[in-house]
Assembly symmetry: C2
Homo-oligomer: 298 residues x 2
């Protein structure tokens, strides 16, 4: 539970009467694999570990490879929320031994929202077969049967599935390793631009390549500043959610994004802070981004 989406895993389980042992993580920090190992040794009845690869609410990326290594030592399933992580950070389902991964269409997959993807490893089917929790539309057995006949058990969002085929073609053409590198490079440039403005990264060392979360400067009403920026220029920067409201702002850089998008985003941050009375040296962020992008070749 290191953010809104980690908490959502817990809420979903609890809604279905599944007992949850929360692993509380300070917002902005990653899961410590050692702590997870300790807890799994202590709690012998755990059936599954739910983690979030990229916690969009805090900008943190978890080290799924190390987490998977820890989980492998215990007789439990590993279920990963890769909704924003997919296509941005590597996720080697088979190599790392992930049992179930969930992804969405609207982030690294470059599509409008409306589709969820669930990848189920062979290792998870035993639990699925035995599952007695009530379900109808989300019955994986029905889905597997449908896929075997090249169809789906219920009418799907066909236009988005067609678009997904196209997006996957684009990713295949670029090469998934290059897609990961592109995101790493753009995220690095964003972080350097932010630091050059004297601002602090919320997720520090654990900052993901999905989005950059930044601590809001003292004495500025970040949410109304962001709203004004959006209304005046059409650039959307996002504030914090729930407990983090007013405390951070977030710059997304996943999916169909290039160098100029990062320049634009940092220039918008500069404008937004400057016009709302926060002292920055105008141009310092964009210069730094420019410098990083030119020196770090693609």
């Amino acid at each position: 539970k290191g953010g809104k989406f980690g908490e959502r895993w817990a809420e979903i389980c609890e809604a279905y009467g599944v007992e949850v042992i929360p692993v509380d993580i300070e917002y902005g920090k990653a899961v410590k694999p050692d702590l997870l190992d300790y807890l799994l040794k202590k709690e012998r009845d755990v059936k599954a570990v739910f983690v979030t690869q990229c916690e969009t609410s805090t900008g943190v990326v978890d080290d799924i490879e190390r987490i998977a290594n820890v989980v492998k030592g215990h007789n439990v399933l590993l279920i990963v929320d890769a909704i924003t992580g997919i296509g941005v950070h590597p996720l080697m389902m088979d190599d790392w031994g992930i049992d179930i991964a969930v992804a969405g269409s609207q982030k690294g997959c470059m599509l409008p929202p409306g589709l969820a993807f669930v990848c189920v490893a062979q290792s998870a089917w035993d639990a699925i077969e035995k599952s007695i929790l009530p379900k109808y539309y989300w019955d994986f057995k029905k889905m597997r049967k449908g896929l075997g006949n090249k169809t789906t058990p219920f009418t799907p969002a066909i236009s988005l599935i067609t678009a997904a085929g196209k997006a996957l073609d684009m990713i295949k053409e670029e090469g998934i390793e290059n897609v990961w590198k592109r995101h790493a490079r753009l995220a690095h440039a964003t972080r350097e631009g932010i630091k050059a403005l004297g601002l602090e990264l919320f997720a520090g060392e654990a900052s993901s390549n999905v989005l950059t979360a930044v601590k809001s400067p003292e004495g500025i009403d970040i949410n109304s500043a962001i709203k004004r920026l959006r209304d005046e220029t059409g650039v959307t920067i996002t504030g914090g959610q729930e407990e983090l409201k007013g405390k951070i702002f977030r710059i997304g850089h996943m999916g169909y994004v290039n160098d100029f998008d990062i320049i634009l985003a940092i220039s918008a941050v500069e404008k937004c802070l400057y016009e709302n009375g926060y002292k920055i040296e105008l141009g310092k962020g964009v210069s730094k981004v420019q410098e990083v992008l030119v020196s770090c070749k693609k």
Copy 2:
């Protein structure tokens, strides 16, 4: 339970442990409101009646107004699957006293599939507040709270919602009464065309304006005939599902459909049957459709 979608209501209830008293209806026939009244008098513990307005699997339309009148006399909720009925047959939720209606984007609403709409009358909220069945994403209380803030509790299929706004503008411009009339007229022409070919309507008097279900002629393999037609001409006529496989074929005429679509559909039926050895007088169906469409003014 007069078809696949009536059966689905029962399956969904049973998946969640809700006891179901099935009202078995012969396929191709409508629900008899008197029988429903009799059953509701006999079974005093019933909490809700689930019906399907248009049973897409059989082409039947149920008389929801009369059903609602019966249900009103008992202390139960009326929940209507209006997924294909909406925008084709009238459904006066408030006037008739329907508690919950469910619709989809992909039929009379003229959109690609991917959205479900649920209309909840004030009268249903008491049951929703008391409901203890497990749910997370389909929590109506969360949805109502979100809508109050002009948002949704989870990321929705935004591109389809935007398209839905456009489709509703089109329906508003045509006028819903005119939309109903257009469907009634096109369905009538389709039925007359089918009868002129010596074929029999599967749903007889209960035929809906959503689609026309036709009994497959003896001695013809309707499914492979339909498949060949689709591959050769791109025209899709649908076969029967499950128990009705091979026994009927179905012509859809809901949504963004006009006179020429009906001419085309009946000409395709003629071609398909003729080329597969079934004796018909070529042109007899299309002539009849042409005649009906010209004589029945819009």
